[in-house]
Symmetry: D3
Amino acid sequence: MPFINIKVLKGTLSAEEKQEMILRVTEAVAEIEARPSPKEKILPHSWCVIEEVDFENWGIGGNAVTPEMLKAILEG
Amino acid sequence: MPFINIKVLKGTLSAEEKQEMILRVTEAVAEIEARPSPKEKILPHSWCVIEEVDFENWGIGGNAVTPEMLKAILEG
Amino acid sequence: MPFINIKVLKGTLSAEEKQEMILRVTEAVAEIEARPSPKEKILPHSWCVIEEVDFENWGIGGNAVTPEMLKAILEG
Amino acid sequence: MPFINIKVLKGTLSAEEKQEMILRVTEAVAEIEARPSPKEKILPHSWCVIEEVDFENWGIGGNAVTPEMLKAILEG
Amino acid sequence: MPFINIKVLKGTLSAEEKQEMILRVTEAVAEIEARPSPKEKILPHSWCVIEEVDFENWGIGGNAVTPEMLKAILEG
Amino acid sequence: MPFINIKVLKGTLSAEEKQEMILRVTEAVAEIEARPSPKEKILPHSWCVIEEVDFENWGIGGNAVTPEMLKAILEG
C-alpha cells in the first residue's frame, strides 16, 4: 500500500516521461515492499501522484528557481 | 484543529460536489474529534483542502489512470 | 481513487475513533466521487491516512497548541 | 535540510510577494536549524514550495472560503 | 529539484531496505528529470523522504489495514 | 488561511526552537498574506505544522542523511 508523491518543476516532463517515472518508481517501491513475495503482489496496491510546481513557487536557498538556474545545473 | 487533505482526479467533481464533500467530511471529522462536546466546538477550527490531480499524473499499479479505467471501475 | 489525509492532534483519538473516522470519511468521499454509481464501486479504491501530530508541533496563530487551549475550545 | 510547504489561497500573492515569502520563511527556518552555526550553512539545503489553492477547494468549518469571507477577515 | 515522499506501512521495511528504496527511486527520478543530461546533474538536488504510517492509521476502503490483510495480499 | 508544513530532521530542534520557528514563520507568512491589512488579521487563521523525520528516512542524492553529513554541512 505504498503512496508515492513526486513534486517536480512544471514543464520539465513530457506525458511519456511522467508515465515512465510512475512506472519505474512504483515498480522499485513495490519490489522492495513485497519481498520476499514478487512485486506483482503489491503493485496493484501502489499509487504514485506527480505534482507539477511552477518555477516561481519553488524556492531553493530562499530564491525561486529560474529556468536559467535549472539550465546551469543540467549543463554545469 | 484537524486538517483534511483530499486528492481526487481532476474533472470528476462539480463545484457543488466539492462543497458537499468539504461539508460532510469536515462535519464527520469534527464530530469525532469534539466528543463528548458537540461538533460545533471544533468545526470552526477544522480545515479541508481538495487537490485535483490530472489523470496523467495519478498512477495506480505503475500506470497513469485513464478516463476509460475510471469508467470501467464505476460501471464494472 | 481518492486519497484522504487527516492530520489530528496526537492523543485525541482512540483506535476505535480512528477506525470510525476512516470509515465515515472514506464513505462520504466515495459516495460523492462514484455518483451516479453506488459508492461501493469507488470504496475499494479509496485510501485514508491519519497523521497524529504532537501538540508542540502544531501552531495556530504562531503559538503551539496546548492541551489547555484545546480544552478551552471544547468547553468554551 | 528543511522542506517547507506553504498552502495559500490562489490569487492572493503577486510573484514578488511569493519571492519575499520564500526568502523570509526560508531564512527564518535556516537560521534556527543552523544554530549555533550561521544560517548560510543550511540555507542552500533549504527548500520552500508554495501551493496555490482555489477558493472553492479550501473549506473552513465545512464551507468553501469565498473572496467575501477573506475580505471580511482582512477588513473586520 | 524533485522532492519524493513515500508513505509505507510502519514496520515493513528494514533500514537497509529504506536506504535501497531511497537510492533506486531517487536515481530513477533524477535520470528522467535530467535528460538528456546525465542523472548525476540532478541527483544532488533530489530529495526523498519516507514516512512510516501505523497500520491502524491507514485505511483502505474504509477499514484500517491489518497485518493479516497485508499477509493475505502478499501470499494471496 | 495559510497552512505551513515544515519537515525537519528529528532531534535537531528543541521545544523552544520549534515554538520560535512556528512564531517567526507564521508571522512572516501572515504579514505578507494580510497586506495592506495588518498581519493580526490573518494570524489567527494561519497554521503551521512541524514534522520531524528520522535521519534514515531522509535521502539526499539517493543516500540517507547521517548525523555526520549534517555536522559536515554545519561546520564545513
